[in-house]
Amino acid sequence: MKRWSLVAALVFSFVFSFSFAQKTVTWAMWGSPEEIVTHQKVADAFMASHPDINVEIWSQPWGDYFTKIQTLWAAGDASVIPDVMFLSPVVNYAADGVLENLDPYIAASNYPTNDYWPGLLDYGMYDGHVYGFPRDIGLEVLYYNKDIFDEVGVSYPDDTWTWDDLTAAAEKLTDVSSSGRVNRYALGMEGGKYQLWVGQNKGSILDDMRNPSHCTLADPAAMGAITFFANMMNKNYAIRDANLGQAGGDAAVFQSGQAAMIIQNASRISAFNAADMNYDVAVVPIPADGQRSASAAGAAWTMSSFSDDKDSAWTFLSWLQSTDGGQAIYTASGEILPALKSTAESPAFMAASDTPANRMAFIIEGDNAKVGRAGFFPEWNELSGSIISPALQSIWSGEASPEDVLPKLCTDVDAFLSQNGYPK
């Protein structure tokens, strides 16, 4: 009978499709088209080794990513909320309960959390639990243009350099016309990275970056570090923050020779190599009695608490964050310092390209990485964006001195903290 065979075929195909159904993990990230190519490569490699799990990419440009994903959460439809998501800062989202606590999965699968750089996993933690794995560590090193150093006759920076050495070299590297026009700055560094100096000088922004009770930017250590950076700008050694942004950012001024050194993370390596620059990297100079204090932070892969297949999501997530899996592929793309020490010390990072020769600088900074660049509480963005950064900008612009700004800033920060119920 025709009809019976049709029904049988339908039933058969129904059963068939279910028993062989692939599990799907939706994977969300922001990125440029080039970056998405790398992400797709990672997804393909995973699917090749895990044929039962299908990974679907959901990507948005940086500008839209966070608002779109927040809209998905607000709508609360589990079927469209991505299972694994790239997020930063993790703490904001963990506090809202939209992320899965990864501790049980870590314990069950013996995931090696001690392979992360010191302090880095803190960036993915909230309330003592891990909610995300940072993909990379965005720590900075000192890039220097060898041609300019040779031309001026300054010896290359090394790991013995102190702030005094940096200042002395900057004086020679800076090129100012009689009119006051600066033809070349010694250093290009974003004002927002000022905490690197503060940490090196054993100071901090807040007494506790998780549960702060007061601002410590007016303490002598922080004041000294901010004064050091401000003086670099006031003496024309470092390009002022607003002018740096205007001139196209640190990579642009470094490539054009308008700055002899920049302090930046590994993301610029491939651009400088593509431009065939004669440069190398070194650790960032520290105060004579200071410490290395690279920032342990990086955007993290997280799991959605709405996910309908958390086991598959974990399988993917733990593969993503392993030297044999995603970490090596991202590292080979040449723009990140991987979150896992074992990946960084493997040829995937150390032998990725001939320049910069001194890749050990990244390893030394990584081994000494510390938390402190950003607060691990939900109101940090507001505190930083509406109170701390604007006040510091008036120092970077040269319109106010640290002694005038910082005590008042700390009063404002303390008022904000108590208004928002800190310490909790």
Binding site: S178, G180, R181, V182, G248, Q258, P390, A391, S397
Partner: protein
Amino acid sequence: MSAASSKSSGTPSNKGFRFGKWRPGQQNEAYLFLLPSLIGFAFFVLIPIIGAFALSFFDWNLISPAKFVGVDNYKQLLFQDAVFRKVLGNTFYYAVTIVPLQLILGLVMAVALNQGIRGLELYRLIYFMPVITNIVAVAIVFQWLLNRDFGVANAWVWQLADATGWHIAPPDWLNSSFWAKPAVIILTLWKNIGFTMVIYLAALQGVPESLYDAAKVDGATGSQRFRFVTIPMVSATTFFLVVIQMIGAFQLFAEPFVMTRGGPAQASLTIVMYIYQNAFEFGRMGKATALAWILFAIIFIFTLIQTRLQRRWVHYETGD
């Protein structure tokens, strides 16, 4: 004319039709024709506006459940928030400079182009071009032009200083809390004057020649003709431009957002940028919507004042 309306009006002829007079039974059809745009208006404008008003009484970060806080958002903004006072001051600064400059420069350019010069279309095209260019691209170019050391705008001053040994330094445009606002204003004017000019040009072409001839006969000089004929005759246009440009100036966003990010030290931050920051960077949706309503109130009051004042200076004669 549709069959339905001719049926209800009884006669297909337009004879006897007058605007402003409803015919019994015709309203429903009118609403039917308005429905598509009314639905769009309701869903994309009216309901969001009402929702935003409700939201301004809550503390909500888009993710966790909203918490009712009464008028706290308004109270905090109006009486405690130092940044709000700053952005309010900045926004007024922009409004009181941009609106008059735009009107004066636009009118001057329109009058200049109304002299029957050759290649008028070409000039109109050139001056109108900035209006339709992408603001982000333009702002980035301006950033580059205005750089302290490497920018084109400052280059000739530096060259002069280098050549003469004088100690003259050009403005450190976007790094200075004094110069950042003028820099944003220059960009805004460059971008928008073409629009003002085109509207004025249309108005000028509607001013009857006979009025100028009559003024000439009465012995009016060129500047007197401009003052007593041109300005009153385009006053209705001026009123229109004042209102829409004031609203635009109060809502300034893209120009400072791209060029200065509101800096340095919030010196160029506007109300709308502060709304954006609160909503999408700080997770303060309630505060952002409260700000939006305060901005609405400010614009509403100013527009009301404008419409009241217009009776004293706007002339609606057509010159017939």
